[in-house]
Symmetry: C2
């Protein structure tokens, strides 16, 4: 078996209650690496086309990467993959903290959960021994309660990944949580877990992760650590966390406000990085083996929610529970974040859905009859906090909101689709592409739907932070849609996909080069690795997942499209005043992007030739027939 892997995964048939150990498919490792790459390969191969995401035909796959749990800085991550109940395409999410490393130390690279249990269960893995345990007594508990109970039982070393009430109640954007505050948040994988009546996975163990050349690996990891440790990113992130970017995005006129009706928030000083630091920050929090404490350990010091503490809000969360709903109350934003963590909800989709509902109410598409009497007005801080709980419990109007913006708009009609701010069902993050056109392209090409972190082009455009991981991440003028520059999106998507597959944090890609990553891979696995193979493998995984999305979601050029608001409603003020992402610009960027990708221009599908070039011949029949 290749070094850096534990060499085996667990396959858990939840219906029969059977657990089987199986060897990792060795021939897949170098081709798909691990994390969401390797998991997507299992998903593609082991499922029939057209399965229902919340049916027992949908497997739920936990997977680490070869660097997960090693001394490589930031390599703390595990991925969860399944068909998404929110998007209907490949659902992927990953999370830091210490669950990924502990899963490996319990003896396994990953777990494939199949079918569904008839009653609540959790999986316990201690020192390579796994058992399914009854979870009836913890079903309904919050994340913090669940973790405390399970750790009390399994011992202090144990790390838990679990769902809260939101996942149990099949909220379409429920998260899977670990270390209480860390989320594999997006795409509703918590609902898939809930549909299986799987409450948690508990890991504990002392297995060693063996590396091919320990000494060379230590040297490469030390260099990576040194570069991170001495980076401007670290200085800024430790001072302000991801909220650092709030002011930067606002000053460029692309800070989503009032459900994307505006791009500049006047009360930004109430919710920016300085505000978070002054009002709620206690201390920075770091992931396993990371020198950058970008996490925000916080507490609420006054007002109605005084005494609560936890982690967050991060940048996205601050925006969606704040300006997006015209709310400047940072305590309420922080409380909404805590509730998302504890009930197990993705903050971006939760906050975006609330803002969407508020605009529906503003426009009379929702009224008090359909909201159980609630006045869904913008700016109501406490209402936002209440709604989070209602969504998790599918209580009253929360039952509607638990479906997410796309399904809500389909249900509500009356033109609400125009401002249902999602791409392929995934609610958008807090960077308005009308102020940086190429971000619009990246939203429509991201493999999991409208997402920023698939190819974080927002770094080079909104934050002036280049990526060293690719050859060139320079964007000349964010206000101008330049088709040639879509090559940067392609390169970033491929490269960041590799970080995901390896188990690393994507922010690393701003500080270290592909050469440096390759050194880690070589010394960890013993592969005779190169930058070329690194890039080619990222491209292969990207095409694999795109192919899955084509197969399952009928994804094609016409579905690579933005919500109408971004293409038709000009921003009313600020530096990007008057701007939209013009349909023509978007289509030109798509032409160029598909060209760089070697996809056909008509469908936006990987061509037969491209799939052959990437040694993905077995995917051809799904797209192009035999």
């Amino acid at each position: 078996m290749n070094k850096a892997y534990m060499g085996k995964i667990l396959r858990v048939d939840l219906e029969k209650g059977e657990i089987t150990e199986e060897a990792l498919r060795e021939e897949w490792l170098r081709k798909y690496i691990g994390g969401s790459g390797l998991a997507a390969k299992y998903l593609f191969d082991e499922t029939l086309t057209g399965i229902e995401p919340l049916s027992d035909e949908n497997p739920l796959i936990f997977m680490t990467g070869p660097l997960t749990g090693t001394a490589s800085a930031s390599a703390s991550r595990y991925a969860v993959v399944a068909k998404s109940p929110l998007t209907g395409i490949c659902g992927q999410a990953s999370s830091g903290g210490s669950f990924g490393p502990m899963l490996k130390r319990s003896g396994f690279d990953g777990i494939i959960f199949e079918k569904a249990s008839t009653h609540p269960v959790y999986l316990k893995i201690v020192d390579e021994k796994a058992e399914l345990c009854d979870a009836s007594s913890i079903w309904g508990k919050t994340i913090s309660e669940t973790e405390e109970l399970l750790i009390r039982e399994a011992g202090e070393r144990a790390v838990v990944s679990s769902i809260g009430p939101a996942g149990e109640n099949l909220v379409r954007y429920a998260a899977i949580m670990n270390n209480k505050h860390r989320a594999a948040g997006r795409c509703g994988l918590g609902a898939v877990m809930g549909s299986k009546r799987l409450k948690a996975v508990v890991c504990s163990g002392k297995a060693q992760i063996k590396l091919e050349d320990e000494q060379a690996f230590r040297k490469a990891a030390q260099r990576q650590n040194d570069l991170l440790d001495e980076s401007m990113l670290k200085v800024a992130f430790e001072a302000f966390g991801t909220n650092m970017v709030s002011d930067m995005v606002n000053v460029r006129g692309g800070y989503p406000t009032h459900n994307w009706q505006e791009g500049v928030y006047e009360l930004i000083d109430e919710v920016n990085a300085q505000a978070v630091t002054e009002k709620v920050l206690v201390d920075g929090v770091r992931c396993f083996a990371c020198p950058v404490a970008c996490g925000r350990g916080t507490e609420i010091r006054d007002g109605k929610y005084q005494g609560h503490s936890g982690e967050g809000p991060e940048y996205e969360t601050t925006n969606v529970f704040g300006p997006l709903s015209e709310n400047s109350d940072l305590n309420a934003i922080t409380m909404a974040n805590y509730l998302c963590n504890d009930y197990g909800l993705d903050t971006i989709s939760t906050g975006s859905t609330i803002a969407f509902a508020m605009e529906c109410y503003e426009k009379g598409i929702l009224d008090r009859n359909s909201t159980s009497g609630i006045e869904l007005n913008f700016g109501e801080a406490d209402l936002i906090v209440d709604l989070v709980k209602k969504i998790a419990l599918r209580e009253g109007v929360g039952d509607l909101l638990a479906e997410g913006t796309r399904l809500m708009a389909q249900k509500l009609g009356h033109g609400s689709e125009h401002f249902a701010m999602n791409v392929k069902g995934l609610e958008l993050p807090a960077y308005d592409p009308r102020a940086a056109k190429i971000c619009g392209l990246a939203y429509v090409t991201a493999n999991r739907g409208g997402d920023h972190i698939t190819g974080y082009i927002e770094g080079p455009t909104f934050v002036d932070a280049p990526f060293l991981l690719i050859d060139n991440s320079f964007i000349a003028d964010p206000f101008v849609a330049n088709p040639e520059e879509t090559k940067v999106v392609v390169d970033l998507e491929n490269a960041l996909t590799m970080l995901d597959a390896l188990g690393g944090c994507k922010f690393m890609g701003m500080v270290i080069t592909a050469d440096e990553i390759v050194e880690l891979v070589k010394s960890a696995t013993g592969w005779d690795y190169s930058v070329e193979e690194f890039r080619k493998t990222g491209e292969r995984i990207y095409n694999l997942i795109r192919s899955y999305c084509v197969r399952e979601g009928g994804i094609n050029r016409n579905l690579d499209i933005l919500p109408k608001r971004l293409m038709e409603d000009p921003l009313p003020s600020g530096p990007a005043e008057g701007m939209v992402v013009e349909m023509d610009s978007l289509e030109s960027m798509k032409d160029a992007y598909y060209g760089f990708r070697g996809w056909d221009l008509e469908n936006g599908w990987p061509t037969r030739e491209k799939l052959e070039e990437l040694e993905l011949d077995e995917l051809i029949p799904s797209l192009w027939g035999n």
Copy 2:
């Protein structure tokens, strides 16, 4: 007269004691802008070839830019230009603080000092009235004493630019100082001022700087301010000042140590940004109209120098008085900095010359007979502090060191030229090009000699900070000399030359684009300005100054060369272990660079065609004959 300028300069004949007001040469403004650009044009036109820098034939020109003193963020700067006694080519230096703005408010864009006075004088300008005053009683005083005495006399509003004992004693790298701690440091212009027996310039006034379109200017300046205010640069600079880069350069293996015998300093934690913050920082200090407080207000809290306070050390200063001389005592480094400020010395050249002398001593080229008995050993913290004073006063061995590394090596021989770390006489800054090859090219092409800030390519290479001011500042791999990438150096040199000419700080160029600068220029001056003209004008000024250097210093391809140590002695350890800047690589980069510049490959001179293209026809005879 064009708006944004005061429209007049002072011409001061120090021999006759006559002061004349004259109108700015209006036809030169749009061509050479201001600052060192416009000043260099006066220098080129008004001097004969071959003058001695410390003779009375060398004029000393103070010049502001059209943005100096406006609300444009960071536009606080004035330039001083003369033929340099250190390099024999164009001497240029600029300084922030509030002298530049006050010079304009006293009624003048600049001052040309001609000839020399027989006795110490200073120039006082109050509300557009100028007079030469006797300075006998302040001759010999330090900068702080001089400023205090002159401000007591001229009033609290007054701002002083002056020389200390070093300038009076014609130390070849004496600085001109303002606001006590701010230096127009490089190229020894303080010695030119001293040779004229001009102690100081004192300004005070309330003249308004009139702009063409106040409202549009305010809007553009506000946008610039917003972008700076919300930049990662600001976060990092306010936390750590320029010392932020110490760790970054060290971790990349290019942090000059032991007079460039090494590139990694083991005791970096004693002298890095965190150390400066913990041990001496009191508060950040900002220049006129700048939102970024990157200056370091400091005090020494313990040890021998306890009780002293001032500003600094900045990054360069920390290196040259610290690791470059194997000294890790931050209090001594800070004290050496204070003495440079108070005696009026350029810190980079001072510290570099001391380190050079120490290596001469280490190698037996200097011995106790030639040092008046001093043991010039590396690592002697208090000795370094003492030497600063000795240099300023040309006392004992200080008299030799006051000549700088190039002249010392000529005098000492015995192969010391090999490790006299200067280019064209200017001591090198603290970035080792063996760890980032393109920095070596930039050292040999910089118009004032071995300089980092002419085209700060160290930002994109060592600090991962891109420049938005040019189209693309991306450097793929600093360890590799890629001739194609020398275009970045050309673009940066041209663009940063424009910031100098306009009166702005070069760090701005990392945060704002040329479009944004052009908006400022248009609204300030009323010119119908474009990015193309911005770039072309930067190129014109660069070629003007290069032509002056060719005319005066016989600069040619053979003199665009690095000290032998950088080309022949491999770095002994760290990430750049074994590396040099190979002669072949340097020559290939020069070929490419001259090509991008439109200079001839044989001489490295602007061609006749290039000069015609840039409307510099009048320079042709100096280079190419009639």
